[in-house]
């Protein structure tokens, strides 16, 4: 009751302060004048009466102040004056302000940038209506994957089970029939293949999301232009040649022209009509990456023929699991109900489509249901992991910047000791002094936060861009709130101690001139020293991280690939299926291309392959040697290549022979296997001459092990077959070994291709080394960012060490003077100062080492060729830090050694 009345009165004053101030003036004036009138009646002159009235009233201003205090609005006015005073004090030392604000801005900016990315990737729901109704289906199986072919995600749980969100088309159909608890169930390819799209004769590579006809209605996405894809588009395999394009693609290819709707473009040389544009907020069912086009599942044979190799468009194949299934739950339906309604149908269809192929235990395949509000995110998405590591790194940088701020503030409050003492002496309350100091640190923190928004805004797209992710990062009020919150926190926590320290000023000693005494400020120096130790510790962690990532990058770049990547030019080429219908015509064309390109001066030798090496692409198949009593159902990696593949790539033939031009279409099918495969499947016998997979493929040679998909993976068991004997796809990557600079050959190669077929586009021209670099983006990002932040950390730590040592030396001037007067040598004085710095650095390095060891376990999976406890990295980081610490304290140490004893003794 009382509280309410008080609050109302306070609010009234806050809102109508000006008017009430005026009334207060009138009230006091009325009192004085009335009293003066009384006095005049008693016979005093007007002037004398007024004077008397004022004397008896007392100090008008101080009473007014007390009146304000009694309604609780004085703190308001005080805050204003604190702010004004604080701003003036900061303005008076622009150097200090600049360093403090800049280091905070850097720390806060880095956090803002990474947070805005994180928020988009880890926290935001899909921007579709009622995302909380969406569910993602997933399965789990104890043991190895029970289906023949699986694309999309596949993970192994800790218990050894496999789990994935990919299903076969028959399973999707069965689930749809049993989905009473769902408003809709949609399926889309659990992968985003790249296709060649040519718009007005300009061919480029874009990514396509294949979706079932009810995809847009399930997600309840309304297209921005034209129409969405409809179930009627997704009927006949190979039919439904329509596409909805993404807003981003509409922007950069069609300049947002309305004419894009209804336009015919060619996708893998098949004409497709653009029927709609997705809204900018919807970039697909996967946060963090977005396709340029959405096309019906029925277009799979054209868009992604590799899903069903050789058997174009037979969605009925229950052995091929490649679709993600997402449903929209009916209102009030629960997950348990949904799962119960689906399980029966699921078990049934799995039994009929998988058991027929002889897989065991398929009844143990269990269906799971997961929330789908964030779309389909893989549990251990590479991007998620990256963002988490970056969050920790920028968090450390912020901590470092804050420690620096605290140290600066401490030094500053030491130099302002006299000022505080004077204020205390003339009657300031300690709480007022503390508030004043805290206000100043808050001003600094908020300035730093505001300045940090700039690098934060500029850097928000940096990480997604480096990793080639197309998620638009939203810089909204939540990011602003985050920045504001960390600024406030930084100001409060790290400004709090120096402010409290300020209130402990001893008036008596503070007013004496010296300011520096040998005994005074011991606790302050202790806090300063601890802060320096913390700074060194954080720097140690960051430097260790930088070292680990740099060495990982170095190890990956210099790892043995098993083939020669130098002077190799790569490009992709796809033969339009409409023109090159038969295998023979495609094989003939590839042979002609090989001959034509091989004839270019500067090209030493040329070949082609189904998969480019170290490009993140691969395929695996069964590998069952014929005539074995107990077939092991082993998997092997396969690459379909041209005859000169081994010579061009520099992969040695260890036994038998490589391919030759005599291995043609009609001649017996041949294969070359690598050492790894030979050792795994033919441990005690000579594999040459053996056949496998009941296809009478004869092994003719054994080649050296070469890395296949990425640099991190050891060469897998691999076999190579010839394109002319296994012409599955109509596209291939050509590899040309050059004797000159490979990049200079691009024009000549284009011309050579054009002489054979004017319409044939060559895409994605790059050198093999560039190709490898492309797979190292994340490693490079980590190495660059952690080294950058490591250098920043070194800089901040050296400023900290310099500051604390300079402070100590100036505090000990007197003592050092006496020592020198008593005969201490320059070297001895130098050593005394350096020894202290040495211990500080050592303490920081020691703690940092432990913290770094604990933290590096988390990044173990991101390292390559070294353990997280890598001694070289730790030793290098420690040496660097100690060296920097000694260098930073050299200047104060020199100053100490040069102290003139006579001067120093007078100093007191």
């Amino acid at each position: 009751m009382n509280l309410l009345a008080r609050f109302r009165s306070w609010l009234k004053w806050v809102v109508k302060g000006r008017k009430l101030e005026a009334e207060m003036e009138v009230e006091v004036g009325f009192h004085v004048e009335s009293y003066a009138a009384d006095l005049m009646r008693k016979g005093l002159s007007q002037q004398e009466a007024l004077r008397q009235a004022r004397i008896e009233f007392g100090g008008i201003e101080s009473h007014k102040d007390a009146m304000r205090a009694s309604v609780g609005v004085r703190c308001w006015a005080e805050l204003g004056s604190d702010l004004r005073y604080g701003a003036r004090m900061l303005g008076k030392s622009p150097g200090f302000t600049a360093v403090a604000v800049c280091s905070l801005a850097l720390g806060i900016g880095a956090n803002t940038a990474i947070f805005s990315t994180t928020k988009t990737i880890l926290l935001d729901s899909l921007s579709v209506p009622r995302p909380e109704q969406l569910r993602v289906l997933r399965w789990e199986f104890p043991g190895d994957q029970p289906m023949h072919s699986l694309s999309g995600d596949l993970e192994r749980t800790k218990a050894g089970a496999t789990t994935s969100s990919s299903f076969s088309y028959p399973v999707y159909e069965a689930l749809s029939q049993h989905g009473e608890t769902f408003e809709n169930l949609t399926a889309f390819e659990n992968d985003i293949p790249e296709v060649v799209a040519s718009v007005d004769g300009y061919a480029e590579s874009v990514s396509v999301q294949l979706v079932s006809g009810n995809f847009f209605s399930t997600f309840q996405v309304t297209v921005a232009q034209g129409r969405a894809l409809l179930p009627s588009d997704d009927v006949v395999a190979g039919g439904g040649s329509v596409a909805v394009i993404s807003d981003a693609y509409w922007e950069w290819r069609f300049a947002r022209s309305p004419a894009a709707i209804g336009k015919t473009i060619e996708v893998n040389h098949i004409p497709i009509t653009v029927v709609g544009v997705a809204p900018p907020s919807f970039t697909g069912p996967r946060p963090g990456s977005g396709p340029e086009m959405f096309m019906p599942l029925s277009m799979q044979p054209i868009v992604d023929p590799s899903v069903y190799e050789g058997v174009n468009g037979k969605h009925e194949d229950g052995e091929v699991w490649w679709l993600a299934v997402v449903g929209r739950l009916k209102p009030h339906a629960t997950d348990t109900q949904a799962l119960a309604s689906l399980e029966g149908g699921f078990a049934q269809v799995v039994k009929t489509t998988l058991t027929s192929k002889g897989h065991k235990d398929v009844e143990r395949l269990r269906l799971l249901i997961e929330p789908g509000n964030r779309g389909l995110e893989k549990l251990h998405n590479e991007f998620t992991e990256t963002v988490r590591v970056l969050l920790v790194v920028v968090g450390l940088v912020l901590l470092l910047a804050c420690a620096n701020l605290a140290n600066l503030l401490l030094a500053r409050s030491a130099s302002r000791k006299r000022e505080w003492s004077v204020r205390l002496a003339i009657g300031a309350q300690r709480s007022r002094i503390m508030r004043q100091a805290l206000t100043e640190s808050m001003i600094l923190a908020l300035l730093g936060g505001a300045a940090g928004l700039v690098p934060g805004y500029l850097g928000r797209n940096l990480v997604p861009r480096v990793l080639h992710q197309t998620a638009p990062v939203h810089f909204d009020w939540r990011v602003m709130a985050f920045t504001f919150a960390i600024s406030l926190l930084a100001g409060l926590v790290f400004g709090g101690f120096p402010a409290w320290q300020a209130t402990r000023t001893d008036v008596n000693s503070g007013l004496k001139d010296t300011g520096h005494t040998t005994t005074g400020g011991r606790s302050k120096a202790l806090v300063g020293r601890s802060l320096v130790v913390v700074q060194v510790c954080i720097s140690m962690v960051l430097l260790t991280g930088a070292g680990l990532f740099l060495r990982t990058l170095h190890n990956l770049m210099h790892s043995d690939r098993g083939f020669q990547s130098e002077h190799l030019l790569l490009f992709d080429l796809g033969l339009p299926e409409t023109q090159y219908k038969t295998v023979a015509s495609r094989a003939a064309m590839f042979r002609q291309l090989q001959a034509q390109i091989g004839a270019i001066p500067g090209v030493k030798i040329v070949t082609f392959s189904g998969h480019a090496l170290l490009a993140g692409s691969s395929s695996t198949t069964n590998f069952d040697p014929d005539g074995q009593k107990f077939p092991q159902h082993k998997h092997a990696w396969r690459n379909i290549v041209g005859t000169k593949f081994f010579e061009t790539m520099g992969i040695p033939i260890m036994a038998g022979r490589g391919f030759s031009d005599d291995d043609s279409e009609p001649s017996p099918k041949v294969a070359v296997i690598n050492l790894r495969l030979a050792r795994a499947l033919f441990p005690d016998e000579n594999p040459i001459g053996k056949t496998f997979n009941s296809e009478h493929i004869r092994i003719v040679g054994i080649c050296g092990d070469a890395k296949f998909r990425d640099l991190r993976m050891d060469p897998p068991p691999t076999y190579y077959t010839l394109y002319q004997q296994f012409a599955a796809g109509n596209s291939a990557t050509f590899e040309a070994k050059a004797v000159v600079d490979p990049a200079s050959l691009t024009g000549a190669i284009r011309n050579a291709v054009r002489t054979l077929d004017r319409e044939l586009p060559i895409t994605n021209v790059r050198t093999q080394d560039e190709q490898i670099d492309g797979t190292l983006r994340r490693e490079r990002l980590f190495a660059t960012l952690t080294s950058g932040f490591g250098v920043l950390a070194l800089l901040l730590a050296s400023i900290g060490i310099y500051g604390i040592m300079a402070y100590t030396v100036s505090g000990r001037t007197n003592e050092i003077g006496i020592r020198i007067a008593l005969g201490a040598q320059t070297g001895q004085v130098l050593r005394t100062v350096l020894r202290e710095a040495w211990w500080l650095a050592l303490a920081g390095v020691g703690v940092g080492l432990i913290v770094a060891l604990a933290m590096s376990r988390v990044i173990q999976s991101m390292l390559y060729g070294l353990r997280p406890t890598d001694p070289i990295t730790s030793a290098a980081a420690a040496t660097l830090l100690v060296a920097i610490a000694l260098a930073a304290s050299w200047i104060p140490a020199r100053k100490a050694a040069r102290i003139d004893p006579i001067h120093a003794l007078r100093h007191e």
Binding site: A5, F30, F57
Partner: protein, 73 residues
Amino acid sequence: LEIHQQGSLYPALYRLEHQGWIASEWGESDNNRKAKFYSLTANGRRRLHSETEKWNRMASLIASILRTTSEQI
């Protein structure tokens, strides 16, 4: 009313009003000047009552202490 400084009255008045025990109103004084009138609110009256009780209790206690004779101790 004898107080040290007449101005000290006002912070006290403001505090009472802030706490909701008295209310103020601008009006006309006897000689037709603008003046502020303070009055007790219902809350203030209750508070005054309870404070008065307290005071009286205390005063009577003190009075009874002063009345005691040495034999009674």
